[in-house]
Symmetry: none
Subunit: 220 residues, 4 copies
DNA sequence: AATGAATGAGTCTTCATTCAT
DNA sequence: GATGAATGAAGACTCATTCAT
């Protein structure tokens, strides 16, 4: 059942087994619905051992979030090769991102759905990771503008909104790709590049979409 | 506390009070952490009455999702005026969407965060709503293509991915706008139009971003 | 088992049943060794009901202490008749005290043994009761001195020590009388009056026992 | 922390370290709240070693009680010098008693509070010690009577009650002296001698306090 | 002589849910 | 139409205790 029940293993190994089990249960059931009993059973150990090593449900969840966040950012970092143009770097990052989330759907669920739904201690962990990625994307936009010798004249909040939108689109596509059989990471990345890159290009060339004036019918 | 405790009111009214309370509690605490006790108290009724009217926690949650989903789609529908160009219609829809989510943060939390985090019975409800919106967006893209007398040659799956990305970006921006003081619905909508419309335009003119060939270093 | 299992009784009654059961279990097993399960079973109700009415094990224990402390001080108060001489009042009080503790051994165990052994929240409750009794005894000593038109010249700390000793002796005798078959409350009270009253008399006549000087052999 | 962690020491020494730690923890937390984990850590050894040497929590607690009881009776025995008058011997014994309890508050807590609060196996240990002390006090009273060439005519049970009262008063004063800053062992002993000796004298001279007749108002 | 690894059993506590009135 | 009274089931967490080395 779950992991093979091997006795007496070094602490570090057991701890990883527990985290594996926890990510799976948390990812599938959600934080609150997950029971420590089930996690312990899937890990092939008794409940007290889980508590001995990981202290509490909260701590265990935090440990899961940290491990999965590290794994994801590390995967993206490894995927992005230095040197190429900004759009190529974005492509590389997206490809790594979609590949990783497809391979670790429970980890992605923990980060994307569960951690954000359960209050500050946890949401903060993900926010940290997200901000790292948003910063990376923001930097790419800036680089692209510099490469083209153009001054995008984009106010900071606008850039933050764009990065947020791009990351949100990526997150959404990851869930979609996971749920739709036959959609590969490459296809998801291509869809997003098509969707986003031209818009960014236009913006940087100061050709924004013309926002209409406020109308009396805008209300709720 | 919450609703004024008035005795003997028609069933429909009481039911709405209960749903109001439930949406608030579910939105703030999450499905599992919300307790029927708290909901009943906030609604100003006794717990058995909640069960009499709404059967179970699951049914209550489902009723919340349905009501909030209807309210949101209805708001968007009302916001979109027939006649104008496709991009103007998209703008109108986004504006209505951002306005509504900003005004009903607990309802939005129920739809966006809570319902998707708790398995099939609930996620399906949201998926239905989402598909309606995705269909609306897809239709707009098709209309835009027709209006321009161009044949976008976009395969169906590609369009689905684009719509998914657009909706995901919108959802993400809604959360961002709610969490960032000073960001208005108009600003969020403008950011997204800028981000998305040019990309769609390029696509429809058959100028996609050139996807690089598969590399041996793509793996995880 | 324990109380007859009658269904649907008013809250106040059930609460007393629970306190009865709790005093018995706490008195016999001690605070920590007592289990809420056992208390609920003895009270003839389910555990959740105990929690609904009394919140927590701590609160339940505190409620027990308060009830038993009130009952004891009330019994002593009722036993002491105004008017008579100070020694007669002390006799009356002791008789009431020993009678009550003999009739409510579990309550006395809760107050004397259990409450003092488990940290501040609880010990403080008993200390309050004890101080009330010590104050009563102290007052009696003062009255006795005044009645005899003597000035005892007893420093305040000395009086506190005497009262403490008397109360301690009484507490100890109560336990002894409870544990020794055939010892009545009157006998316990008589023993203590004999033991204590002459010493107090001598003190008030300024004939203290002559304390020897400090010796080098006093150490441990 | 606690004992210095030195490896490979003779069993007897290790055992004392464990008992030191156990007395401290038991004295401060109480029997049930004390955890073997904490005791082992404070003793600077691993838990299995504690079990190897002392078998179980019960046995460990019993060993603590025995050691502290021996230490206390031994201290009193050493304090009492042969030869002097009976009251001087009582004074010596009390002084030794208050001095020892002040120096070993955890040990005293184990004997006075914890051991008596947790059922027969433990209470019996303390009772044995207590009886030894009561016998000593009883003997002193008898000696005093003989010295004065008087026959006290005290029934055995009466003497037992008196000794119980005296010991109870002493115990109570020990706790009071420990808790009240500035009260020395000498002061506590003096208070108790004043309180008790005259009463005992009166009794031996056949001048007991006149117990009133049974009244109809005595009931509870 | 000593310990890191591991657990069965039990504790307090909470929650969704239902009678009886 | 509405509720005070009550509970079965389950969940987080802890502890005394032992095995294998």
């Amino acid at each position: 059942m779950g992991a093979v029940k091997t006795k007496r293993m070094p602490r570090a190994v057991r701890e990883q087994q527990m985290l594996d089990a926890a990510v799976r249960i948390f990812g599938q059931r959600g934080y609150m619905a997950a029971s420590m009993d089930e996690i312990a059973e899937l890990a092939g150990v008794s409940k007290p051992l889980v508590y001995l090593y990981l202290n509490s449900k909260e701590d265990l969840f935090t440990a899961c979030i940290r491990r999965e966040a590290s794994a994801l950012t590390e995967a993206v970092r490894r995927g992005v090769r230095q040197g190429p143009s900004a759009d190529r770097q974005l492509w590389d990052g997206l490809l790594a991102f979609f590949t990783h989330t497809a391979r670790h759907p429970d980890g992605w669920s923990v980060l994307h759905l569960q951690a954000r739904t359960h209050g500050e201690p946890f949401a903060a962990e993900v926010t940290a990771m997200r901000e790292e990625i948003v910063a990376f994307v923001t930097e790419l936009i800036a680089v692209a503008a510099r490469d083209a010798h153009r001054d995008p004249h984009l106010p900071e909040r606008e850039v933050a909104g764009l990065a947020e939108a791009l990351v949100g689109a990526a997150e959404s596509l990851a869930a979609w790709a996971n749920a739709t059989p036959g959609v590969t990471a490459r296809q998801a990345a291509a869809t997003l590049m098509n969707f986003a890159w031209a818009g960014l290009g236009d913006l940087m060339e100061n050709r924004p979409w013309p926002v209409p004036p406020v109308s009396s019918a805008d209300g709720d």
